[in-house]
Symmetry: C2
Subunit: 381 residues, 2 copies
Amino acid sequence: MSKSAFAGGNLGVVTPRIFSHDAPFRLRSGAELPRFDLVYETYGTLNADRSNAILICHALSGHHHAAGVHALTDEKPGWWNNCIGPGKAINTDQWFVVSLNNLGGCHGSTGPRTRRPDSDDIYGPDFPIVCVEDWVRSQALLADHLGIERFAAIIGGSLGGMQALQWTIDFPERAGAAVVIASAAKLTAQNIAFNEIARHAITSDPHFHGGRYQAAGHNPDVGLAIARMIGHVTYLSDSGMGQRFGRQLKSGDLKVGDNVEFQVQSYLRYQGQTFSRQFDANTYILMTRALDLYDPASACGDDLVKALLQTSAKFLVISFSSDWRFSVERSQEIAHALVRAGKDVSSAVIESEHGHDSFLLPIPRYLDVFGTYLAQLHGAL
Amino acid sequence: MSKSAFAGGNLGVVTPRIFSHDAPFRLRSGAELPRFDLVYETYGTLNADRSNAILICHALSGHHHAAGVHALTDEKPGWWNNCIGPGKAINTDQWFVVSLNNLGGCHGSTGPRTRRPDSDDIYGPDFPIVCVEDWVRSQALLADHLGIERFAAIIGGSLGGMQALQWTIDFPERAGAAVVIASAAKLTAQNIAFNEIARHAITSDPHFHGGRYQAAGHNPDVGLAIARMIGHVTYLSDSGMGQRFGRQLKSGDLKVGDNVEFQVQSYLRYQGQTFSRQFDANTYILMTRALDLYDPASACGDDLVKALLQTSAKFLVISFSSDWRFSVERSQEIAHALVRAGKDVSSAVIESEHGHDSFLLPIPRYLDVFGTYLAQLHGAL
């Protein structure tokens, strides 16, 4: 793989901060949170006229720690370190980047693991349903807190792309551009089905205890691991897995057949186990439900063009050839609706063997398209 | 959908029979079964020179009851009633059709649920690994029992197609033709991965008890249901599911977001629950392992052409456009290897929205290709 012009450098040590919203926050469902915290990080410097801010929205299992390290001894940097840093596609020499853990998350923001105000109990399964629209409004409150009237760009992949899109609908005057990557304006039945199986694996784990596993002193590790294994396979592509694992054996002999284990089997189990130790089951359910429910056209008679008419952002829509959970067709639906709504939209289909995971990877053409678009945005500030 | 010329009629009541092999049977793994039973059905009449026999090989969750009903009050006929019957693609006015439950199955043939000889215990998880090659040899013993020296055709979809293919390799003189439908000469890493998740869901169900669930008085219903849900979604196509379910709601209101349930969610859960009451978990594991292990080229330096050189059958290879678990490419690998091995091979790619499940459905062009091929075979008897 040849190098991108946006390979760039690293941010070094970054430090998360907390934004506390000490007032009631009504959710789309009608439920109300008495208060909430959002944990966030920023990279780069806000310029004098506060015009160079970018918001990063995370996907299903993401969080605020998108780039840099928390300590120099950290083995891994943030989840989007490929894209964010000095000289990178999201160039922190030019942009002030804000990245948060969403409401309902399990990495420091108020969510199912949080203690309720005036109580010793955590929210657990009673944490209300959170929708993409709720995240957008809570992110707008964080922007207010940071003194950011308008983001130059709001950027996200997958579920993060849905948030970027919704920003342009709900706050047209506060979203200069949206970069919507490997996303969809609504999930298909197949995609909902995979989420349902993942949730079913979690909720039917006997250690789930109706979501009160923490009080019961257990964790639904097995269910979460299965959920992650399903996610993992469906975020990769058949050909990508073929190149990486093929039919390589970890143990046994195919001629005899007994005790055969393929490399891909042990890899998947390892991925599942690692994830189940790190992620909160109630948050996983909450995030997948937000994915399922997202459908901005539903408020406009299922007409996505109509839903996008009030937007005033510029759009970059990126998809990946081998992504079958958020396929090229889903991105094209967004791009075509934007064209029909008369909006300024660029779109790119990136050739990649890496399926949905492509949006996290340093694919040169992807970084080049992405970086060039943002550099042009910056030039026009 | 216009009707196929091979829509045909129904067989009426059919009765399963048992073939008992009361001698030791050594498996590919080296393990030995002291004896075994195979439950089977036959449809149509064996002709005087015993030249009109067809063998049906079943897939992962199939069994011997392929066509007709067991009683006139049965709500559903056999699993391949669309294809087998008077005037149908597999025309029982012309052919004598043999359909069995494979060794290791859970519908009457010797398998994990069977009591061991000279013991009160069932085999359970100690039932040995069974490979496609073992099934083929046990089917040959059934053929001997029925006085069938040579099958005019051996036919199967998916895992059944692997058996049809292996017959032509192991018993070239006994296989006149092979109809290999929606199958593969070996699974890809993605396909193994889905099987692994299904097995993991079963074996990590606390009611699995290391496979001794029957002795423990439990059944790993939850794990089996998840396995089936994964199978179900991956045997359908994205567009097929979209047409059938789309984003239709079963309950709730998308505008509020709370208590929303999509139709596809409840459908999947129902499918999972129904299956887990009917199928044996150890058999499910055994069948998926046979799928993973199948790789006839591995004995010939990974050269499928070489593996097929000794065959003398005619071949019909059928695949379906939207089948992504046993894709068109996998069938084309088989067809191309047969061409390069200088064999008589016809192949057809059928346009269908129904994914892998297409091979079970009455798709007119499929039935026409299939029926015409078999009618020509019959004409040449």
